[in-house]
């Protein structure tokens, strides 16, 4: 489904200029969305209020609203979007298929299952992160085992992942009905993908995970790029493919798990961000860092819209991404079937 749609004749500096321009525009959009998110809401604050709250000179109420609620939420949206964008870019590059995103083939659902098992059956008070990591990695193992038995047919692997994710969704629903009511109420919000309850602790977890896993990706970036040339070429360039793939899959699964642990399964960001980044930047492969920036911006914009579009009603951002992303995926399928 990925077609190298841009002629290779384009000169390198020109392409780099375009990429820089696109990243700049994306960041500008993110800044505008951040300003909108920080200044509007049920408690209106002006830009100068926000600035003084950031400096620590605002009155108590403004400080609580800005520093205690809006800033953590904004940072969490950026970090989760970046993590999902990176995870999507890694999986899509490894599978050479845009549909092989963690949200489509069940890794997000598996992370949610792991987190729910932890919350409802083992330790209700602990952070759901460990459960989400374990659940995500176990799901990856299952899907890879299926992929091995399915063999060449990539579309069937994806369909198997979809089947697995419907099963995991049923497990999640079941766990919710078995959970004590005070957990179930939180978990219900969380199961649709919501940033309402994010705290600075969550942000610290996200930033820490992004830092460590991002560093790993920086270190293997050169080898990662050679994978796009095909396994044989990469091998002839001295890349140890098996080990590299395993490492990348684990990193991407951990990124997905961390994002899911904080906000629940937010769908379609990991699918759409890498594709948007590739199309706008006009690169032949999927740009890793471009996907991170795009994912962060898309999720931040989506979260601001989810908060404000039907205010005072707060839509879980995962529902908004599902409406837009579902339609987008439908369009991809329809277009490629023609």
């Amino acid at each position: 489904m990925i077609a190298a749609s841009h002629p290779p004749s384009r000169t390198l500096p020109r392409r780099r200029r375009r990429a820089t321009l696109v990243v700049g525009v994306t960041i500008a959009i993110a800044v505008l969305a951040a300003i909108a998110g920080l200044t509007t809401g049920s408690f209106d604050t002006s830009l100068s209020d926000v600035a003084s709250a950031l400096m620590g000179t605002a009155d108590g109420r403004t400080t609580v609203v800005v520093m205690g609620m809006r800033v953590p939420r904004m940072l969490a949206a950026l970090a989760i979007g970046a993590a999902l964008g990176l995870a999507g870019a890694v999986f899509q590059t490894l599978a050479r298929n845009p549909l092989a995103s963690p949200d489509i083939i069940g890794f997000s659902a598996g992370s949610a299952t792991g987190a729910l098992v932890g919350l409802t059956l083992i330790a209700p008070t602990a952070s759901p992160a460990a459960g989400a990591w374990i659940g995500g990695i176990l799901t990856v193992v299952v899907v890879m085992a299926i992929a091995r038995s399915v063999g060449v047919s990539r579309e069937r692997t994806i369909l198997a992942g979809i089947a697995l994710s419907t099963l995991l969704a049923a497990v999640n629903d079941y766990l919710l009905t078995r959970a004590p009511i005070e957990i179930a109420r939180n978990a219900d919000q969380w199961l649709h993908g919501s940033l309402v309850a994010t705290t600075l602790t969550d942000v610290a977890l996200l930033v820490g995970a992004l830092g460590v896993l991002g560093l790993v990706l920086v270190l293997v970036h050169r080898d990662f790029r050679t994978l796009e040339l095909g396994d044989d070429t990469a091998r002839s360039l001295g890349v140890r493919i098996g080990r590299l793939r395993l490492l990348l899959v684990v990193v991407a699964a951990l990124l997905t798990g961390t994002a899911t642990a904080v906000a629940g399964p937010i769908g379609f960001i990991a699918l759409a961000a890498p594709q948007l980044a590739r199309r706008t930047m006009g690169t032949s492969g999927i740009p890793l860092w471009g996907s991170a920036v795009t994912g962060a911006t898309v999720l931040l914009v989506a979260d601001v819209i989810a908060q404000r579009a039907l205010a005072p009603l707060q839509i879980p951002v995962g529902l908004l991404t599902a409406v837009v992303g579902g339609a987008y995926l439908f369009w991809i399928v329809a277009r490629t079937r023609r």
Partner: protein
């Protein structure tokens, strides 16, 4: 012969499950109590439970299950896709959007009112997914399902947002929670029954044509069947059945898939001779899911849709993996 035995077995299963469904719940009743309450007008505790809670619930499950079973068989016959299912392809999600739009924006409160909206929603979703994936082409089983899953995800989220946005809708929606038979109005089944019957009659009318189409378009035409008319009729029947089932029970997935496979594996892919069996097994399966959901989580309940997914999702996974290898 096999068909007769299976049909009789399914009739027995439906009867046993009906009694179980009337007896089982957060307050269990002995079968004797159930039968006594059924045939008397006394309104003691058992009488109220049976007449006002469990009879409507059981009838709704039977009706929705029968519709979805037949719709599943029809859908697999039309698309020639062993993975087709009204829930997976987004038709039920389309009907669900119709229902919540009717409740939220048009103030429709009765099933006989919103079933029309469900019909419109199901028809639009069916046309969309059909146009996107061009079913009927042999070997293309994946694209149809992908399009359906994408459509379901999108429409399902729309349903959730509308119900979150509107308190009244949320109230009504609670009685119509996703794939649950809890707290049915007594007459929901009766209100959607005409749609179900219309769908079944239409199915009987086009079943012969569908079976001839399996021999190939040319041969079917020479046998006096109009392929285009048959496909359109089948689409209308599927839409009627899915709209009736979803109006009554909410969007249920996997019932159609499971029924179609039970039927095909035991008595073959002939549509006309298996309609009754499909309706019976759909009804039995849905009622069994509902009863199991009431038993495994006492004092709470697990929705029938979740129970059905525990059977249907592994089946789907197995079908995908097996057909590939």
């Amino acid at each position: 012969m096999r068909l007769v035995i299976l049909t009789v077995a399914m009739v027995v299963a439906v009867i046993v499950l009906t009694v179980a469904s009337l007896a089982v719940g957060s307050r269990a009743l002995a079968p004797a109590e159930v039968i006594a309450a059924l045939f008397s007008d006394r309104r003691d505790a058992a009488g109220v439970i049976v007449h006002e809670l469990r009879v409507p619930r059981t009838l709704t499950a039977l009706l929705a299950g029968a519709c979805l079973g037949v719709a599943g068989v029809l859908m697999q016959a039309v698309t020639r896709n062993p993975l087709a299912d009204p829930g997976l392809l987004g038709v039920n999600a389309g009907a669900a959007v119709g229902v919540v739009v009717a409740i939220a924006f048009f103030g429709v409160g009765t099933a006989s009112g919103y079933v029309w909206f469900a019909f419109a929603g199901a028809a639009s979703a069916a046309l969309l997914v059909n146009a996107a994936a061009r079913p009927g082409r042999r070997g293309d089983t994946v694209g149809l399902i992908l399009a359906g899953v994408a459509l379901s995800a999108c429409l399902g989220a729309v349903v959730r947002i509308i119900t979150l946005a509107d308190d009244d809708t949320f109230e009504s929606f609670r009685f119509w929670a996703v794939g649950s038979f809890e707290r049915r109005d007594a007459d929901v089944a009766a209100q959607v029954l005409p749609f179900a019957i219309a769908g079944l009659i239409l199915t009987l009318m086009i079943a012969r044509g569908l079976d001839q189409l399996r021999l190939g378009t040319d041969l079917a035409r020479s046998l006096g069947t109009s392929p285009a008319l048959t496909i359109v009729g089948a689409g209308a029947a599927i839409t009627l059945l899915c709209a009736a089932a979803t109006s009554a029970a909410g969007p249920l997935a996997f019932i159609g898939l499971i029924v179609a496979h039970i039927v095909r594996r035991t008595v073959g892919g002939d549509v006309r001779s298996t309609i009754v069996l499909a309706a019976l097994s759909g009804a039995a399966l849905t009622l069994a899911s509902d009863v199991i959901g009431r038993v495994i989580a006492i004092p709470g309940e697990v929705e029938a849709g979740i129970v059905a997914a525990f059977v249907g999702a592994p089946l789907l996974l197995w079908l995908v993996v097996r057909r590939a290898s």
